[in-house]
Assembly symmetry: D2
Homo-oligomer: 107 residues x 4
Amino acid sequence: MARRGQQRSLARRQRFHTAKNLVMALAGEVGELVAEFQWLTPEQAATVMDDPEAGARVRAEIGDVMIYLTRLADVLGIDLTEAAVAKLAEVSVRYPAGEVRGSAAKR
Amino acid sequence: MARRGQQRSLARRQRFHTAKNLVMALAGEVGELVAEFQWLTPEQAATVMDDPEAGARVRAEIGDVMIYLTRLADVLGIDLTEAAVAKLAEVSVRYPAGEVRGSAAKR
Amino acid sequence: MARRGQQRSLARRQRFHTAKNLVMALAGEVGELVAEFQWLTPEQAATVMDDPEAGARVRAEIGDVMIYLTRLADVLGIDLTEAAVAKLAEVSVRYPAGEVRGSAAKR
Amino acid sequence: MARRGQQRSLARRQRFHTAKNLVMALAGEVGELVAEFQWLTPEQAATVMDDPEAGARVRAEIGDVMIYLTRLADVLGIDLTEAAVAKLAEVSVRYPAGEVRGSAAKR
């Protein structure tokens, strides 16, 4: 019974969890994470984990982001850690003693 | 010399890499990832890794997302894998044989 | 009474509605809009407004996005329509009979 | 000649500018806007328009966001201003003298 439920669940997932949909789901979850921080001052944001309720919400949202990022990478055949390490290595070659600053560094 | 550069780089990172800024950097990188998929049909999105150029860009963007997600989790003292597993466990309790469908499941 | 409430509300808004926070609020609302579309096929997405419930949610999310985009532009002293028109004019000069395709066109 | 180019451009736009794709394009542009603000302090963000270069980039990104939001609303048959006003009216009924604070207010 549970097994049949799992198979049905897997079939449904394969239909919905296309690369394009997973990219959107990832963006949606990141939007929820951003919403947790949007009205906080930098100081409040830095100590958000000290607040039991807000901390639990932030942890749950980060969990959601990681779930969809992992699924997306899986569907695309990408190893998440390898992709991050390759990117860091590339940046450290381009900016030897410099700072990794995301899009600022890329300009 | 290289060592002094690394110290300066670390000091700069601590100033910029606040929780609030890292959440924004994560959102910015996810925006770049979304942009890679926005004009693709579902079929093109599914095979994007077969295209050497687009595939390399997608891998690089996923690397960037993973880098900022890891830094954010680090700054907040959250273990990424634990957060994802905890969220999956919670969902499987709430929807025993059901489907994890992001915000659709939460409604 | 109502007037005092409005003044308090305005003071609170000025404290929270900084440019940085409003950019995040905009990103959060766009995340909610993306979530409405993430599991829909292209065909379902095209006819989402025919569904009374989903249509009402999409309209509400688009309203939210417009509210925060307007406030952000206001805080920055930018005229939304002028900014859009200026961008379209610039693109039509660069790509005379071409296609406006967002980041794809910019590459 | 220019006319043929415009027709080709229009046909291409209709193929790419589906509701689902436009939602993604909007998210991508908002990601670029977020990237402009991610490393700024709240004070720097408040005065970003005083910097000619950064100010021009912010204006261009806001123009892009407005372009895709307008196209999306157009494709869905939604009037942007009406959607925003309807949402504001709904909030002011629910929170008479209160504050519109996005997702914080909704909790």
